[in-house]
Structures are given as structure tokens and as C-alpha cells.
């Protein structure tokens, strides 16, 4: 009973903010977070449903897994070319979460099944309503939650495959100023809000080469998050209201495909090292379009070019078995930004990310293990502009992310 209540409350937590490059969130497992985001090569626990579905049949038993990340993020903006002004975004606190249940159908069965619920993409950034970029963005919140039923099959002793169907749901909520003022000089505002959903899949395979080396490969497909009927509200001076009818809109936000190759190396009985290479097909994100149902001469459909670039990120991690109870982990990663110069918008002023992380697990008993990790994520200070809006600035984002989780083995 208690457990169910815990899971339910986890489920209600708001999901997500971008803190990996682009609007990806790379925090789908506590151990993996602690190891720089690596985890494709080896199935550590039920979170392999996300990291590599092929590993699910490798688990020894059924496991229930829950984790939550507390994500503190802030972005600073400095005006360019003459930096007379710096402005900080509001401190964002977010809680991306993960729930996995799964394992082999029976002990030593070749087939594993499971379900994963996780938040791989999202972004959130809220500026003061009166900040200097208010006509570009005031706040943005993109959320997604993926549901992934998964099947895995152990083809032979050293080779297993797996795959899952993904149903994604989420939403978009954004506000920006409209540069039309009423008698008192109050500017207008646009508020767009809508629910989105999309479909995709996640497949993977793991190969054990020898007692020391293991390789994993996974492919998480692109998911087009479609908002079919969002609500668009415009707050403008009354005399102009007929030009800005409240209406509905549609839009699509592509969540890019991710191809991962992971290598795990068991250096000693106690120490395992791993490396992951993620190839993200960000070029799917060409532009952000809003198609309004009711158009007027001033309310026209908008297309903001984004032109993201495909990128490869590099991750390293290590796992050390300290004793029967404790394991220690550490890692680092370099996550380059998909956002090209000239397209760095203050709704996601992205830059190359450097990541350091560490963590530990504590095995309470045979059934229950607690996990904790912390990640420190910083972008390099970037001097950039969003050309379509002629908005220029120097940005830096810092994120600290403590991650907590628990597994229960049946």
C-alpha cells in the first residue's frame, strides 16, 4: 500500500527541464546519472528499459524502480555588445522522475518484460515578465512523459535484444510579450498552452564479448510531439482585441532520435568502467511553428527558425564495489549544443555542457537498495544571438541535480 502511494505521488510531480544540450534530459537512472550518463553497455537495474531494452532479459529477477531528480537551474543573461545589464532567470526547480517495473518472466527465462515511465525531454525557463527579452520570451515550459512497455529476449548466453513501444504525452506552455500598449503603457501578452502526444519506439541489443568486455547499442526513435488543439490567449488593449481573437493553435515539436553505443569494461572484480557515445539527430528541429485557427491581418501563423545540428555527446563513468553494502560511482560527460550561432534564443540559450557526477548505492537488505547521485552541469559562457529577433546576449546556465531512488527486488 505504502509503495503504491509513493508511486502515485511520484507520478504527480511536474516533469522536466532542459539541462542536457538542447531540450534533452539525461537522468533516467540514478546509477547512470552518477556515472556521467553512461549505461547502454550493461544492464544495471530495471532502468535498462530506457538505457538499453536489450538488457532487460539479463536481470536476475523482477524489480520495481523509482527515482526522482531535483533539478535546480538558473540562467544568466548579459546584454551585448556593451554589457550594461545582466539579468537572471528565475531559479527553476524541477523534478524529472522515472518508474520502471520489469524483469525475466521467471528465473532463467529467456524472455523479459517490463514497463518504463520516464521523462527524457523537456525544458523550462522563466524570466521576469519585464526583462529585456520579454518580446522574445517570458516563460517556456515543455513537458513530456514517455510510457514504454518493453519485451526483451535473450537470444543466447552472450547476446540479448529488446524493444519497446513508446507513447509520449506532454504539453507546452509559453508566454511572451506583445509590443502593444494600452493607455497606461501596459504591454500585451500572448499565452499559448496545449497538450501534446506522440509515438515512437526504443530498441537495443547487448553483446558480451568476454568476461571483461560488453557492448551495447540502442536506438530511441524520433517522437513528434503534436499539439492538435492548444489554446491561444492574447491580452491586448481593448481597442485592438478584434485583431487578436482568442483562438486555438497547432504545432509539432520533434524529439530527436538518439543512437547510442556503450562499452562496459570490468577492470577488476570491484571496478567497472563504461563509456557511452550518443548521436542525437537534432536536425529534426528545423523551426518552431504556430498555426492559428483564426488569423487576422496582424495575427498570422508564425515560423521561428531553429535549424538545430546533429551532435555526438561523450560520456565516461566508473563503478566501484566498496563492500557488501556500499557501491561508489563517478563520471563525467561532454554534451555539445545542437544550437548554431545565430539561433540561440533566450527560451533555450543553449551552449556546450560539461558534466561531472558522483553517487553511491546502499543495499539495505536483499530486497531494498537506496541510490543517490549528484550531478553538476554547467554550460560554457556563450556570446550569441537569435538573429530573427535581433536579440543578443552572453548566457550561462548552471544546473545542480541531486537524484534519489530506490529499487525493490521481488
Amino acid at each position: 500500500m505504502t509503495k503504491r502511494r509513493l508511486l502515485t505521488s511520484l507520478f504527480l510531480l511536474p516533469a522536466a527541464i532542459a539541462f542536457s544540450a538542447g531540450y534533452q534530459i539525461n537522468v533516467q537512472g540514478v546509477r547512470q546519472v552518477a556515472m556521467g550518463g553512461t549505461g547502454c553497455g550493461l544492464a544495471w537495474d530495471a532502468s535498462t528499459i530506457f538505457y538499453n531494452p536489450g538488457g532487460l532479459s539479463d536481470l536476475n529477477n523482477w524489480q520495481a524502480y523509482g527515482s526522482v531528480n531535483l533539478l535546480f537551474a538558473q540562467t544568466r543573461y548579459a546584454q551585448v555588445p556593451t554589457q550594461g545589464l545582466t539579468e537572471d532567470s528565475k531559479m527553476g526547480v524541477y523534478a524529472p522522475f522515472n518508474i520502471y517495473v520489469g524483469g525475466p518472466l521467471a528465473a532463467n527465462n529467456k524472455i523479459g518484460v517490463g514497463l518504463g515511465i520516464y521523462t527524457p525531454f523537456g525544458s523550462g525557463l522563466t524570466w521576469e515578465n519585464s526583462w529585456s527579452g520579454r518580446f522574445v520570451t517570458q516563460s517556456i515550459n515543455l513537458k513530456s512523459v514517455f510510457f514504454q512497455p518493453t519485451v526483451s529476449y535473450k537470444v543466447c548466453d552472450f547476446f540479448s535484444i529488446g524493444g519497446g513501444f513508446v507513447y509520449a504525452m506532454g504539453g507546452v506552455d509559453l508566454k511572451k510579450g506583445i509590443p502593444l500598449q494600452d493607455e497606461n503603457g501596459i504591454n500585451g501578452q500572448a499565452h499559448l498552452k496545449g497538450n501534446a502526444n506522440g509515438l515512437g519506439y526504443n530498441i537495443g541489443a547487448q553483446i558480451r564479448i568476454d568476461d571483461q568486455w560488453q557492448i551495447g547499442i540502442s536506438y530511441r526513435s524520433r517522437v513528434n510531439m503534436k499539439v492538435k488543439k492548444g489554446t491561444a490567449n492574447f491580452y491586448v488593449p481593448s481597442s485592438l482585441e478584434t485583431n487578436f481573437p482568442n483562438t486555438s493553435f497547432s504545432t509539432t515539436l520533434p524529439l530527436p532520435s538518439v543512437t547510442t553505443i556503450g562499452i562496459a569494461f570490468k577492470a577488476t572484480d570491484e571496478i567497472t568502467l563504461q563509456a557511452d557515445f550518443n548521436y542525437l539527430k537534432w536536425s529534426a528541429y528545423k523551426q518552431l511553428e504556430f498555426d492559428y485557427v483564426d488569423n487576422t491581418s496582424v495575427l498570422t501563423d508564425t515560423k521561428s527558425p531553429r535549424n538545430y545540428n546533429d551532435k555526438m555527446s561523450f560520456r565516461l563513468g566508473g563503478h566501484y564495489i566498496f563492500n557488501d553494502k556500499f557501491c561508489l560511482m563517478a563520471g563525467a560527460a561532454y554534451d555539445p549544443t545542437p544550437v548554431a550561432d545565430g539561433y540561440v534564443s533566450p527560451d533555450l540559450p543553449d551552449a556546450n555542457h560539461w558534466i561531472m557526477s558522483g553517487g553511491l548505492t546502499y543495499e539495505l537488505n536483499e530486497k531494498i537498495t537506496f541510490m543517490g547521485a549528484i550531478e553538476y552541469n554547467t554550460t560554457v559562457r556563450r556570446n550569441a544571438q537569435y538573429t530573427p529577433d535581433n536579440f543578443n546576449g552572453t548566457y550561462q546556465t548552471k544546473v545542480v541535480l541531486p537524484s534519489f531512488g530506490m529499487t525493490y527486488d521481488f
Partner: protein, 437 residues
Amino acid sequence: MKKIFLVLSGFALLFASCKPTFKADAPSANGLNFSNYVAIGNSLTAGYADGSLYRSGQMNSYPSMLHQQFVLVGGSLEFKQPLLPGESGWPGRKYVMGFSTDVMGVTSMGPVLYSGTLDTGANVASLAPFNNYGVPGIRAIDYTTNGYAIMNPYAGRILSNPFSNMLAEVKKNPATFFTMWLGSNDVLGYATSGGEGSPTIGSPNNISDVTTFKTVYDTVVKTMVANGAKGALMNIPDVTSIPYFTTIPANGLTLNDSLANLLNMAYPGFNNNFVAGANYFVIQDPTVVAGFRQALPGELILLTVPQDSIRYFGWGSATPIPKKYVLDLTEIQNIKTATTTFNDYLQQQAIAHNLAYVDMNSFMKTLAKGMVFNGVTYSPTFVTGGAFSLDGVHLTPRGYAIAANEMIRVINAHYKSTVPMIDVNKFNGILFPSTTH
């Protein structure tokens, strides 16, 4: 206790480490002395907008904006302007957006006269010296004219001695840095009176005499730099590109088939030129035998032309538009030639005295194409463009801020300073009614 302390300080550290801490580069005056900034100019400098001068317009004058940026690089906190007491406008009321009903009973939104009590313009010379000596209506050639107070009530408010001149007044407050935007009215008066000119020598309806212009301008600049002041000279914008002249198109006569036929019969000399759709207005022109003709591409109709007369009483079709509401091609050429001549001289002056030369003429041309600043597109379109105020000649506070940023850009380039740019969008543009009728 110790453990709790450790945990708490751990969380404090967490929060602290996720705050970006980089510091913006400190702006620099690079040796420029902003301890006494003085602005010289006309209505644009005074903060005139919406057809009048009023307090908030003055407070958002571009010299006031520049001063606020100069403070960031060590400038004096004090900046004194000859502020009017109220918001209504003086000596005439300002325009605001509102609803008006035309002679046929059609109500529409547009500029209407403000309904508040007219402001008062008592002499404020006792508050001198000022930092903003912008005088609406003043021409460069007026700057050394004794007794100018009699001709210009705005000068009359500022001058301590009505028989003296503006330069003598400005001299009382030796600037360490100055801006000078003079010369627009030396062509604007001719343009806004439809290029008709006046037989009276020195009338504001005539383009200023070039020799006089040069002599007076030279005297003013020499006086300003006499104590080693640095500064910037702004040149004369192309006045024919402002909404006052571009809002009503020369081919704004919209006809249907039957009206076009009627006009073709009425004007047999026009070779059946009238067609359904857009047509060039019929305008008065005493230089042709008939005394009227159709407007030509490139000719300009003034914003002041009575719109009801065009809409309902056949102006521009049955009745030629009077010539005082039209700038014909010759008149436009006169304006352009004079502007170029004056601006060439201004540039020579800037070079001779090593002052920053702000080419507002070119800058306004880029604005004409539409200019995006921090997500807002500005253009010279009347009302909706956001940059020009409701008189179609002067700027909104946002428009003044855009102009001030161009001045800052050029000052920084010339003096290798890094005076910060202005957040244009924090100022007001056009204000729209919060009612629907």
C-alpha cells in the same frame, strides 16, 4: 547538531553552485568626461511628440536617455531639463489615440486631440543652467538670432533675456560633452508647407540660405568645443521619408468601373487614365496650362490633407488636391539637394573638430526597411510602425531610444568607449485606448 549543520551547509552550497556568477564586462567611458552633458537641438532634442511638447515626452527625450547611459560610465547624476508642468501639451494640445466620428457618422480609431486642460508655459530661466537646450521649431540659422524669444515661445520659456539668443544661453553652461542635432527645421518647414515657400526672406517656409546655415552652424560648434568638449553631431534625416509624407499614397484614389468612367469623361485630357482600382490623385499644379494634373509616382501627399474631403467630397478626383498638401517632384528634389548640401557641411565640421558624426539620414533609411530590436519590429509606418508619434514627424519614446542607441553606437565607435545600449522596449510606443469606442 554538527550533522544537521553539515547537511544544511551542503544544501546551501548546492544552491550557490547552480547560480551563474560571471560578471558582465564593466562599461567604460574611455576618458570621455560626462560630468556636464549638454544637448543642443530642435524639437527632436526637446522630446517633442504627438504634435506638442509635454512633460513625459520631455522626460523621455533622447538626451535624457543618453544621460542615463552616461551615468553608467561615471557621468553626473544631474540632468536638468526645462520641464513643462503637465501632460496636455503646450502651447497646443497633444494627440492621443482615440475614436472620432467623421462627417458621415463613421467612427474609427485614430489620433485625436487630448481632452485635458491646456498646459502653461511660464518662463523657467531662473532654473538655468539646463542640460537640454532643445527648442522645438528652431533652425540652425536661428541659433544666434537676437530676440528669437519673440518668434518662438519655446525659446521664450528658456531665454533669461528675451533680446538675447540661444547660443548665449547655452554658453552659460560649459559642456564637457555635447550632442548637437540641428538643421532638420532648415528644410522641414519648406516640406510641411507643401514646398510652397514664402516671398519673405528668412521665412521658416523656405529652405535656409546655405551660407547663413554654414556660418551659424560653424559658430555654434566652435563655441561648444572652445573648452575642449567632446561630442557628437547628428545630421539631417531625409524628411520626405517620415510618415507625415508617406502615409497617404499618391495613388490612393480607389475607384470602381463607373467612377473611373465618369472621371475619364470629366478629364478628357487625361487619356482615359482612370481605371478600376488604385489611381493617382488629381492635384493642383499652377505650372501646367490646365492648373491641375494627375500626381506622378514619387510625389507625396501630406498627412494634414483633410481626409473627409478626400473620402466624401471628391478631393483628388473631382476637385484637385490643393498644392499646399502636395510635394511635387521638383519640391522633393529641392529638399534632397538642400539636405545633402547641409549634411556634407555637417560631416566636414565633425571631421574638422574630431567629433563623432552620427549619420541619422542613413539610419532612418534602414529604419524604413523595418528594424527588429529585441523581438519587436519597428518601421516608419504611421501608428503601427511604433517608432513615429502621432504627428508623423516626431518619434515615440521607443523611436527616440532607437535613435539614441544609434548615437551611442557611433559615439562608442568614435571614442572607443563602451557606453551601454538602451533597452528600447522599456519605453512607451503608441498607446492604444482601453475602450472599444
